[in-house]
Amino acid sequence: MRSFEYLAPSTLQDALAALHQRENASVLAGGTDLILRLKRREQSPSTLVDIKRIEELDGLETGVHGLSIGAGVTMSRIEASAVVRQDYAGLHAGAATVGSAQIRNRATVVGNVCNATPCADTVPPLVVLQAQVRMSSQGGERRLPLEQLFTGPGTTVVRPDEIVVSVEVPLPEPGTGSAYARHSTRAAMDLAAAGVAVALTLEDDNETCRRAHIALGAVAPTPIRASQAEDILSGQALTPALVAEAARVASTEARPISDVRASAEFRQEIVRVLAARTIQAAAADAQRRQAMSRRSG
């Protein structure tokens, strides 16, 4: 790698000041992607601002309003959280599938979001769970729906002087379940050739879909919503035929490319197969959550 200046501020203020003062600085969190890019000389920042020592970014907060995932929160912490497993099953599945245990001990959810790779495993689940992104700069703070963050492979609307301080996920309303599945050749330590996340809200009958959110990973320049497939499910009973039809439509909404990992046709077919399975899994999760809330209520 090329040489660079390394800063490790202990407060967000200092980190933002460093970014404000410097050209061509990069934010370093887990570094599981960034360090590789530095070694390959695909990216050569003149300064690395390491945010791992900033305590105020280290929070994983859960509450009645939802989940707040600070920029320092690792995949492992998400994986280990009982609340995430209980109420945000799709996100749990996405975080648990990233890399290996060693990678997950290091990699952060916010880092996964900011890298903006189309195959990021936590992004489709966060999208269907309607996550928002909180960004800070010396000029102040702003929020955006996660879906609006991405502009292309590896690019976002985050400005060079901004730090994404957290991802905020609202508590899914009662009757909502989520799921994520991806396809890769290896069982672990692999990247998704295609990924599908689904969040469904069921009516009280536990069969009719009130609302559906479907997001696809690795099949377009950015993670995308399969809105036509969502429309097919909304307000309908989740019969096998309906699920199959929604999955078929979702696969036509994918706009994959052929590359070394898979052909476009294969990716499209995988989206169809995974979408059907993930819709079913999300419905099952919704029923599970419903049953839990009834028991506790």
Partner: protein, 736 residues
């Protein structure tokens, strides 16, 4: 059954003598070598599959602070270390930068300007085989090979034919015939440790090279050849080796480091990156196979016809076809082989070279035949397997019924025919054959004045060899294993020693160690007889002492004996043996794979693998099992995920471990091993070579299990989910 020898240490599950150093990070690998005043080289690789070099300008690179030297082919008119006019594969070396710091060298590398004129390239061996293929090398000598119409085949470097009997008659006698075409890509050894070499010019003008290789002498000879120096100028010290699998038989950057060390009069280290290993390494060659097998209704094989086209990279070379017959009795055979050049790196050895690729085709065809005959695949193999007295592949008759025993015992362990399989699950069997090499090797034993024993050998340890050698010495001298220390001799210390390759190391060095130990034992007994004033034949050895059989009070410890031997007429106690060669025997491996196929995604999960192997005698069962586990894992990698992929522009797409994945622990099931111990008459204690056989049959066993699971045949490895799904959908379309 196995003949009973009264063995104590040999045959035990002794832990690796170097295990603690390895697992605690103290073992010194090639890149751990640090010398005062050392500088670092980074290589410049050509980015095109085929091109002409128009111009190289190193001015800007030389101006970078910290850069010590920049060298290209123009600086070395008498040597072939760098391409000067034509580059024939992506990754070929064009130059090197040397700097105080490896990252500074990499910075400067980007400032070397090379102007290329891109030329047409070919990476598909079947395209390269044609008369109208682009030539892989413009400067190659004219090809002598022509097609049926008399047109010159520019990239064909070898053509061979193996004919036995009358293949047309054989097929006329057949009731059932199957034929298929198989593809195997280039695939990489993926040793954990990338290559690294350090060289230093010594005060006397000689050069010392530290490197991780499978044999110090081959490295010495190759560097001497590359630098046109006498062998005696070079000393090679092999460090701990972090995986090799055949790749590290030859040189990678050793000659470059040595050249730079001579030029700069400073120690120079060159460490390769992982992408350089893919681009500029020596992976296993790919091939295309057409194979047709005929049998009578009862399953008796009558004929085999085939053609194998070996993809030999930019330098071309040969490749045998006889392994397509392998281990079956077939009266009528016609096998043709071609070796073709392609714009790829030169392939090298990878664990059972040639056997893996041919076994995939042969054992897949056997499975197709069993299906068409409606016969059990195990029965079909047992019926046609070569047996005691039959000639093996290298002509020597089989001493024992090794192959059939291995098939039978592996099938029994896998509960073949008795397993209940779920939906989309299937089971498949395949067999492999390998005949290990032998010698030269050596062993030099010295008894220390503290009762310890040192063994010096030139045989490099890549598999646990030195642990096994220590066991052998401990056994023969009746001392505790902890008393034996094994030292690897460098090229100045021991006579020429073969590579630790071809499964020959334990077979050869183990024999040398046993013979040397027996000579040391004679010396010890003679010295003890003198010391105790009794006849040597009255004495026996045990627990580090020599004791009289008739009077237990008459004894002497080895330490005391060694000390007194200093003053004896024969001098200090030692024993040595230099081995030339030994007769060898084939050994067989049988894998039975159970898989589950996801019909939606095409993903194949290996549920279970039973790996049987004819090992002669397991000198250390734990180490033998380790070899079986490792080999089986590597062939499941080839079977399901590994392999070079090229894009439309003939560029390599996956020079990394993300897109050229190898199995992780999550992909490997519990591998159950079956060791068939029926000793051969020539290996140490009856052992045979065990390193290579476990790599051979797995890919075919998986392909056969997939066929059993979902009724489709995939004839190209790796059997990726996409390939499975494509064949599944084609099958569904055919039925519709």
């Amino acid at each position: 059954m196995m003949q009973e020898l009264d063995l104590k240490t040999v045959g035990s599950r002794a832990t690796k003598v170097d295990g603690p150093a390895i697992v605690t990070g103290r073992a010194q690998y090639a890149d751990d070598v640090q010398l005062p005043g050392m500088v670092y080289g980074r290589l410049l690789h050509n980015p095109h599959p085929h091109a002409r070099i128009r111009r190289i300008d190193t001015t800007r690179a030389l101006a970078v602070p910290g850069v010590v030297d920049v060298v290209t082919g123009a600086d070395l008119p008498d040597l072939d270390l760098f391409a000067t006019d034509e580059v024939c594969y992506q990754g070929q070396k064009v130059g090197v930068v040397v700097a105080d710091d490896p990252d500074v060298a990499a910075d400067a590398l980007e400032l070397i300007e090379v102007e290329y004129e891109v030329l047409p390239a070919v990476v598909d061996p079947l395209v390269a085989l044609q008369h109208d293929s682009p030539p892989v090398r413009l400067d190659a000598p004219a090809s002598e090979h022509k097609d049926a119409d008399g047109r010159v085949l520019p990239n064909v470097t070898t053509h061979g034919e193996l004919v036995e009997g009358d293949v047309e008659r054989g097929f006329a006698e057949a009731d059932v015939v199957v034929e298929a075409e198989y593809n195997v890509p280039f695939f990489h050894q993926n040793y954990l440790e990338p290559n690294a070499s350090t060289a230093r010019l010594e005060p006397d003008g000689r050069i010392t090279i530290w490197t991780a290789a499978q044999g110090s002498f081959n490295i010495r000879d190759a560097v001497a050849g590359a630098l046109r120096l006498p062998h005696g100028r070079i000393r090679v010290i092999v460090t701990q080796v972090g995986g090799a699998f055949g790749a590290k038989n030859g040189i990678f950057v050793e000659a470059h480091a040595a050249m730079l060390a001579m030029r700069l009069r400073r120690p120079v280290k060159i460490t390769m990156r992982r992408d350089e290993e893919f681009l500029d390494g020596n992976p296993a060659p790919g091939c295309h196979v057409y194979l047709k097998t005929g049998a009578r209704k009862d399953g008796t094989l009558t004929a085999l016809e085939g053609r194998i086209v070996w993809d030999r990279g930019w330098l071309g070379g040969g490749g045998a076809a006889n392994r397509l017959r392998g281990l079956y009795r077939i009266p009528h055979i016609k096998l043709e082989s071609y070796g073709v050049r392609t714009n790829k790196p030169r392939p090298g050895a990878y664990r059972a070279p040639g056997s893996i690729q041919t076994a995939f085709a042969r054992e897949s065809n056997m499975d197709l035949l069993a299906r068409k005959l409606n016969m059990d695949p195990v029965e079909l193999r047992l019926m046609n397997a070569i047996s005691t007295g039959d000639p093996s592949l290298n002509g020597t008759p089989l001493e024992k019924d090794w192959l059939r025993l291995t098939i039978q015992r592996t099938a029994a362990a896998a509960e073949w025919g008795k397993r209940k399989l779920g939906p989309n699950q299937g089971i498949g069997i395949a067999c492999g054959e390998w005949t290990n090499g032998a010698g030269p090797s050596n062993a030099f034993i010295t008894l220390g004045e503290d009762g310890s024993v040192t063994l010096l050998t030139g045989q490099v340890d890549i598999t646990g060899l030195h642990t096994t050698l220590a066991q052998i010495v401990a056994e023969e001298l009746a001392v505790d294993l902890t008393k034996v220390k094994v030292t690897l001799g460098n090229t100045d210390m021991v006579p020429y020693t073969a590579l630790s390759a071809g499964s020959l190391a334990t077979y050869s060095a183990g024999t040398a160690a046993r013979e040397a130990a027996r000579r040391a034992r004679h010396r010890i007994l003679r010295a003890a007889a003198e010391f105790l004033e009794v006849d040597a034949d009255q004495l026996e050895m045990g627990a580090g002492r020599v004791v009289s059989r008739s009077d237990a009070s008459l004894s002497v410890g080895l330490a005391e004996l060694a000390a007194s031997a200093r003053r004896s007429s024969e001098g200090p106690i030692s024993g040595q043996w230099v081995l030339g060669s030994l007769p060898t025997h084939p050994s067989y491996s049988v894998h039975i794979a159970t898989v589950e196929v996801d019909p939606g995604t095409g993903r194949v999960r290996l549920l279970d693998l039973v790996a049987g192997q004819d090992v002669g005698r397991a000198l250390n069962p734990m180490l033998v099992e380790g070899q079986i586990h490792g080999g089986a894992t590597q062939c499941l990698g080839l079977g399901l995920m590994e392999g070079y992929k090229y894009g439309g522009n003939e560029h390599l797409l996956n020079a990394d471990l993300v897109d050229n994945p190898i199995p992780t622990a999550m992909d490997v099931p519990v591998i159950r091993t079956v060791m068939v111990e029926e000793p051969c008459s020539d290996g140490p204690y009856g052992a045979k070579g065990v390193g290579e056989p476990p790599m051979i049959p797995g890919a075919a066993a998986i392909a056969n299990a997939i066929h059993d699971a979902v009724g489709i045949r995939v004839t190209t490895v790796p059997i990726t989910p996409e390939r499975v799904l494509r064949v599944l959908q084609a099958g569904a379309a055919e039925q519709a």
